[in-house]
Structure formats: structure tokens, C-alpha cells
Amino acid sequence: MEQNVICRGLSKTYQQDAIIVQALSGIDLDVPKGDFVCLSGPSGSGKTTLLNLVGGLDAPTGGEITVAGQRVDLMSQAQLATMRLMHLGFVFQAYNLIPVLTARENVEFVMQLQGMDRKERRARARAILEDVGLEGLENRRPAQLSGGQQQRVAVARAMVSGPSLVLADEPTANLDSRNGEMLLELMRKMNEGRGVTFIIATHEQLVMDHARRLIRLHDGRIVSDELQR
């Protein structure tokens, strides 16, 4: 099966003053295309670090990362920007949206960076906002949306540009269980409908229940990796 993400011997150490923190050590991981992976583990186990390395937001101190056939660890800042723009979607815990842009503009933003023409952009944005159940709220700015609505806009934006991989870091942490459930169902739908790979970091049981594959981290190492259901 074609692999979307390949990590080999991946490690990351942070050094703050005299203290050295081994955030990740020797991670070997393959994520095939279309997988729906949940990264779990206690606080400080390295979930966020791993996502950041895969997304090229931070550089590893050792090992290799390949995403969509390209070596992320060898890329320049500009190459990384292009890589993120064309292949990746991000959903963070909060503050995902650009405050000065409306919901629709936020969704269109990435397509705009990609250089997509206006008509196509409009149509796609309208369709996806409808998919995530936000029709009628297109022209609101983030501050005028609830947390759950904001996260749905974020998912819509991550999906709309046609990425092969979406990285989500605690996407439901700020939501109540009903909204969390809705968001997860949405992501699952996108995963199944479009074959987009998801890697979601979380410590919530709800998210783990929705995952197809559950990876547990502890002290920067993978301690278990199992398929569910």
C-alpha cells in the first residue's frame, strides 16, 4: 500500500538553558494513504512534537521524514511553505482562523494562495461550508462564531485545498462533547469520502473511539500501535 507518511529513526531534543528534553526518540512510523490515525499518550509524551515535525513546522534533530514522497527534513523554508500549501492541512486546538477574514475568506485563503481562480474558489468554499453545516454564516468573522463553528471552519479550510494529509492537534479539546462528536464525524466523513489521510493528536477517549488506528506515545516513544474494530 502506498505510504503517505514515513518516519525513520525520528528524534527531537529541545535544549532550554542547561536542560535537555528528549521529546521524541527513535520514532519509526508508516502511515498509508487514507488512514485515520489517532496519536494518544499522556501530556508531554511528544504528540504535538511529532505532528509539527511531520508538518515541517519544526525540524527534527535526527532521522528522516517523508511526506507524499518528499523528504521534509531536507527542505528549505520556501520549499516547506509550498509543501504545506499543496499537500497539507492543519487543524489546531484553537485560534485556527485569521481574525480579519470572514469564514468564507478563511476557507478561500489557501486556495487563493494556490492561485485558484475566483469562480472555482467561490464554488468550492460554498460547497464545503455547506458540508460542515455552516451555510448562512459565511460572512461572519471568527470572533462572531462559536468555538465549535470555528473548528468546523478550520476543518473546511484544511480540506478544501485538496490536501493528501491533514494534521490535527487536539482539535476537540475546546469543544463540548456534542460539538466534538460533530467535528469528528465530519473528519471521518472527509476521510472516507475523499481518501484524505488524518493524523489526530489527542488525549480524549472520544477521539480515540473514532480512530481506525490508535498509536500510543510515552516519553517520546511509540509504546503501542493497533488497529481498532
Binding site: L85, G115, R157, D169
Partner: protein, 410 residues
């Protein structure tokens, strides 16, 4: 960068400008005030310069003067010269020259029955002198001279007071003739003139040229030929022609005749430049601070932009464009304000409250501001270009590596 992205860039920059109204307002006021003060001050200074130059040029200097060699060091009858020959007259009647006249100009003593004073006696050709110097328009009491043979004199208002004489009374003028003999003669005061500067009113006594020539036994000789050209900034051609037809004479443009004036003009320009720099420094300080603040406040957002795949160059341009937008709005406001201020001063800025000190420096007490395109352009360009340069640091701060912490930590 595609046109789409330019639009996006502009949307973001524009909305970010209005994100923090108070901050934007403060910086706009700073820029507007800065450019207002630059342009207004420059216009007032230009007005002062222009007036001063005109005063001096009007005050008998003209654009070019011709003398016998040695006259400028020792302006006495001995250093006189014959009237212009036919070749010279041809040049003077040519296209470059607007007005010209010949004068007798020597040091003299004027005395009334009560007082006496040292003056410069100027024998003029009243008709030719019109359009060349101030005197024709300056007579406010009595009459102007009628011909070069007019044997009345014109005295300045202050001199009349000082001599305790008045219109219609007689005064005696005394000087040396060509044989170094004392030449003196009584004149009737036929006119009183007012001038911008007290020194002019007390310094000159005017009479007909032939009368002066006769009194000093100069024959046809004159002390000075003055002319006003079409353009005072462009005297090269006339000077060349004159030197060709009168190689033995001392021919000088106003810039050489009045070195002090040229120096004063330079000083004004330097003052203006210093003011420009001071204003600009204060302004750019505010601008950089504001932008840095904006960039720091938006660290998370900038991280987000980068996570979404915005290139560093795009981020850099976004911050620069934001700054450019504020600069442009501020510049427009400042220029409009400056224009309004200057327009409201079209009737002159009255400085008579400080006039005593100013007059000494040769400045009239009412100043008419003068907008010079090059001053306005340089003030605006200075603010714009250096403003952008000052924004480079905040922009660079924004575009540097991805602030991972800012986006992943709550």
C-alpha cells in the same frame, strides 16, 4: 506573485491597518503632522528665500551688473566707465534681457539745515529704471523723477525723518568729482519713498543721471549698468554674450554680487533639511514601534499563515504593504492639511511682531509662502522611502522561521 495574491495581500494589509483604530489613528496623526510641518515650513522658507532674493535683486542689484574693473572694491568716481557701445546695446536689446539701465552711483553726504548723513547717491534714468528696481513704485509722497535731467531728489521716509526735512525742502549733496575736488549742489526733495527695509530708506538718494554726471564732472561716463534677464536662474547665455562684447569690464551675476544672500539661501535650505530629518526620525520611530507591536501581537496569526503555506516573502510584503498603506494615508492627509494651511496664508504671514530681528537679516515682515514642487516631492519621498526602510525590520521579524510555539500552545 499572481494578481490574485496581490489582491489577497492588499485585503489583509488593509484590514490589518484598521484592526487597532487607536494605534492607526495615532500613527496617522504623527505622519500627517510630520509631512504637514515639512511642507508648510518648506513653503514658508521658500517664500522667505524668494522674497529676500527679490528684495535684493530689486534693491538695485538686478540679475547682472557691469562695472569698470575696481569699482566693486572702491565705488568712487575714478572707477567709472563709458556708456555702453553699439555692440553692447545690441545685446541689451536682445531676447535675453527684460530691462536694463545705466547709473551713476557714488558715496555722498546729504545734509539738511539740521542734520547730515552718509548715503549712496544714485543717478538714474527714471524711465529705464522701471521694471528694473524698486524705486519707480516706491514713491509714496510727491513724485517720481521725470527724466535723467531731473534735478529733484528722492529720499527714503526714514532719511527724511532723520534729516528733519520734508517734501519740497532743499538738501545739499556732497561728493568728490573726477578731479578729487569736493562737488556739492543743492537739490529740492521732490519725492519720498518707502522700502521694505530701513537700510534702503536711509541708504540711498536718487536723482537724475545727467544731473549727477554734471555735478561730478563725469561727462558721459557711468558707474554701473544693471539688467534684469528673462530668468534669474539661467544667466549663462547673457553673461557669455556680454563678456564677448565688453571683455575689459567687470561683469557679474547676482550670485557673485551678493555672496551673503547666496549663503543665506544655503542656510535656509540646510535648516529645512535638518527639520526634515528631525521630523522624519521622530515619525519613523513611531512607525517602527507600531509595526513591531502589531507584528508581536500577531505572532500566532503569522505562525498560522506559515502553517497554511504562506511563503516568507508574502508575509514580508504583507507587513510592508500595511506600512505603505498607513504611510500613504498619512501623506495624503498631511499634504492636504499643508496645502490648506498655505492657501490660508496666501495673503501673507505677518511676522511684524518679530520684524525687528528679521529686518536686520533682510527679511520683510510679511511672508508669502511659496510651494516648490521639488520641496514637496522630496519631503514626501523622504517619508515614503525611509518609512518603508524603517518597516523592513518589523517585516523581517514577521517572516522569520515559523513560530511553532505560538500556534501549538494555548
Amino acid at each position: 506573485m499572481s494578481t490574485l495574491n496581490v489582491r489577497l495581500l492588499y485585503t489583509l494589509a488593509w484590514r490589518n491597518v484598521w484592526r487597532n483604530h487607536r494605534r492607526t489613528f495615532v500613527i496617522l496623526v504623527a505622519i500627517a503632522f510630520g509631512i504637514w510641518s515639512m511642507v508648510t515650513l518648506a513653503a514658508i522658507m521658500r517664500g522667505m528665500i524668494e522674497q529676500q532674493v527679490r528684495n535684493v535683486i530689486n534693491n538695485l542689484t538686478g540679475h547682472i551688473q557691469v562695472h569698470a574693473v575696481g569699482y566693486r572694491d572702491d565705488p568712487v568716481v575714478d572707477n567709472s566707465m563709458p556708456p555702453p557701445g553699439p555692440h553692447m546695446v545690441e545685446v541689451l536689446r536682445g531676447e535675453h534681457v527684460r530691462a536694463w539701465s545705466t547709473r551713476v552711483r557714488v558715496p555722498a553726504v546729504v545734509a539738511s539745515e539740521r542734520e547730515s548723513a552718509g548715503v549712496t547717491l544714485v543717478g538714474i534714468d527714471p524711465e529705464a529704471e522701471q521694471g528694473l528696481s524698486f524705486i519707480a513704485e516706491a514713491v509714496t509722497e510727491g513724485r517720481y523723477l521725470e527724466s535723467s535731467g531731473d534735478c529733484g531728489v528722492l529720499l527714503g521716509r526714514k532719511l527724511v525723518e532723520r534729516l528733519e526735512t520734508s517734501l519740497g525742502k532743499r538738501v545739499v549733496l556732497m561728493s568728490q568729482d573726477v578731479d578729487n575736488e569736493i562737488a556739492d549742489r543743492g537739490f529740492r526733495v521732490v519725492g519720498v519713498f518707502d522700502a521694505n527695509m530701513e537700510a534702503t530708506e536711509t541708504g540711498y538718494v536718487f536723482t537724475g543721471r545727467s544731473v549727477a554726471q554734471e555735478m561730478l564732472r563725469l561727462g558721459e561716463n557711468i558707474s554701473e549698468l544693471a539688467l534684469v534677464a528673462r530668468d534669474r536662474q539661467d544667466l549663462g547665455a547673457v553673461l557669455q554674450l556680454l563678456v564677448r562684447v565688453a571683455p575689459g569690464l567687470d561683469i557679474q551675476p547676482w550670485t557673485k554680487l551678493e555672496p551673503l544672500l547666496v549663503l543665506t539661501v544655503k542656510m535656509y535650505e540646510a535648516t529645512m533639511l535638518i527639520w526634515f530629518v528631525v521630523v522624519f526620525l521622530a515619525m519613523s520611530f513611531g512607525l517602527v514601534n507600531t509595526l513591531l507591536m502589531a507584528v508581536f501581537e500577531r505572532t500566532r496569526e503569522i505562525g498560522l499563515f506559515q502553517a497554511l503555506g504562506m511563503r516568507p516573502g508574502f508575509l514580508l510584503s504583507q507587513v510592508l504593504l500595511e506600512s505603505l498603506t498607513v504611510l500613504m494615508i498619512g501623506l495624503v492627509m498631511g499634504n492636504v492639511l499643508a496645502w490648506a494651511t498655505i492657501a490660508s496664508l496666501a495673503d501673507g504671514l505677518n511676522l511684524s511682531a518679530f520684524a525687528e530681528g528679521l529686518e536686520w537679516a533682510g527679511i520683510s515682515s510679511v511672508i508669502y509662502p511659496l510651494i516648490s514642487a521639488s520641496d514637496v516631492i522630496s519631503a514626501n519621498l523622504l517619508v515614503l522611502v525611509l518609512g518603508i526602510v524603517a518597516s523592513l525590520y518589523p517585516a523581517w521579524r514577521a517572516a522569520r522561521r515559523v513560530p511553532v510555539e505560538a500556534i501549538t500552545r494555548i
